[in-house]
Subunit: 247 residues, 3 copies
């Protein structure tokens, strides 16, 4: 049994954060949380999305796992006005999810969860460098990097207490440097890793621009990107594997 | 002789409502009204647009019929700012329509009205079910239907006093149900017909979202869609033929 | 040596005015002005852009000439928010231009100025007719002309004291006429020339819509288009060669 009511804007935001990485996923509806954990087909990016029941107007579940087509669910929720509420109801008998907004009712066929990739475990990583910046800073760095390269390096220089984003092109280079007093907080430690810019561009679509975003980094290690959604009643964590540095 | 002045916004709105169905049409300029009545090439959708002379700043005509390329006329009127007035003047001698806005003057060649399809008669239909809803409700139903199907069913259930829009896809279904208290007015009677969604999408481009729209329906019968334009000094009526129901 | 600080919005505006005509250019950084003078590959359109040092927050140069890829420079400056300031610094040793906005630093490789086309001399033309109009009037004339033709005629009729823009299509014609009291100022003299509309459309992208634009014209002569930028601390001059009139 699952039945819930939520503001359209919150559901739209939550679904979007998973949709940028995967097409299909398991939607895990526990009694105390709404969760998507999924890894992209190439095993490079992972998303862990959680909404607590306080993000909902009402929420009741005895623990079901639904197989979901995310772009389909995203299209439906986007038809609702952002200030409308959306009712979700799982009909066990016909194995369909009913989505209602205003007088509109959409009956979504579900995917057999067994046919969807297993949810990944969140690896226990030691990421000693941590910086909290505004989403729009990351956005600027990603857009500038995109002008010169397909890769982006992120790191922290503990000596100068600086967080940086760098991209090297054939002729031009880009660098975003934010010192201790230009970030919301910085826990310095030596960190530097190279990533595929495509994944950053995809994740950036879902990262809010005016929200504090926490980046946790190591040396040649995955980066963890974390930000709150639903006014703090939920959070999104991305984990991205590094590329081998060629230079 | 024809000479008139009208607010750009009103002319833009009026032309747009006909342009979504036909490329060329006869523009019938009677002494007391400005009228387009046309049927689309496939004989499925009909538009009847009327502006009374009160929609104009000034209007003088001794009754002429002009052959018009609608997308051309639409492009010209869209160059004017929406709060500018547009002067229209028909030059009988050279058979051209002069369109003036600000210092800009456009001389539009006319099409021989004899080469344009005959204006259809408005059929006298008995459409017993009638609902008045806001344009944005129709918009939502059309957009949702478009996610699952190429067809859209509209009808009224007199028992539950409900107006509905339905679309059935291969796996998913969509339904918009508006009860008596969720519509502006409802005159219930059994009605249900299936339509091509493409026509609804085209007409929807011209249907204002915040205006009451009247839908008149029957059983396996055409639907009539009616809404005021020009602050009530004009109106648009669409008539759409049903598709044969296969299920 | 060159080092300067400028509001992003002003630099964006200035670069855009040259970018619509040429891809690469020489950027002439004199001690008292920032200047681009370039002619398009077909030798039809010329741009002369000048910012005085008062357009800058700070400006220091001992006179250098840089070879610039304009679309690249434009992309970078557009990443800055329009109210941010941008720092420009030329590193003589590595022959690169560093562009900084916020924490973002872009290192732009320069082009050997010797490989860029020679800057044209501004011809000394006798253009007796002069009209000052708002940019949006020109915009309207260009857009309307584009509906009927690939060419645009501009001229002044000294008898009726009227500035006009005209375009003749196969069936339709367009004319924008502005009399003495509909323009900001008019210095009448017989003038009429035909131009390629493509160039006007390109230049129009950079011409501000709410700024007075000065057009200087002659008979079968180039047109000179002039407008202030950077709150009057700079100006752009376009010069466009006429087409031979075929009618």
């Amino acid at each position: 049994m699952f039945s819930a009511t939520i503001e359209a804007k919150i559901l739209q935001e939550a679904i979007s954060s998973a949709k940028v990485l995967v097409d299909e996923c398991k939607l895990r509806l526990d009694s105390d949380s709404f969760r998507i954990r999924a890894v992209d087909p190439a095993n490079v990016g992972m998303v862990d999305l959680e909404l607590s029941t306080s993000a909902f107007v009402s929420y009741e579940s005895d623990g079901v796992v639904l197989g979901i087509n995310l772009s389909r669910l995203s299209d439906i929720t986007n038809i609702a006005r952002s200030d409308e509420t959306i009712d979700l109801e799982f009909d066990e008998e016909v194995q369909k999810l009913t989505i209602q907004a205003g007088g509109l009712q959409y009956t979504l066929s579900l995917i057999d969860p067994a046919s969807i990739r297993k949810e990944p475990d969140l690896p226990d990583l030691d990421l000693p460098a941590k910086v909290v910046i505004e989403g729009r800073n990351l956005d600027q760095g990603i857009k500038a990097a995109d002008m010169v390269s397909d890769h982006i390096a992120l790191g922290v220089d503990p000596e100068s207490q600086t967080f940086y984003i760098r991209a090297k092109g054939d002729t031009d280079n880009v660098q975003l440097e934010l010192k201790q007093d230009e970030v919301i907080s910085l826990q310095p430690s030596l960190a530097h890793s190279l990533f595929s810019l495509d994944y950053f561009k995809d994740m950036n679509k879902a990262i809010p621009k005016t929200t504090p975003v926490t980046l946790s980094m190591g040396e040649e290690y995955p980066i963890q990107i974390n930000f709150p959604i639903a006014d703090g009643n939920g959070q999104v964590t991305y984990l991205l594997a590094p590329r081998i540095q060629s230079d």
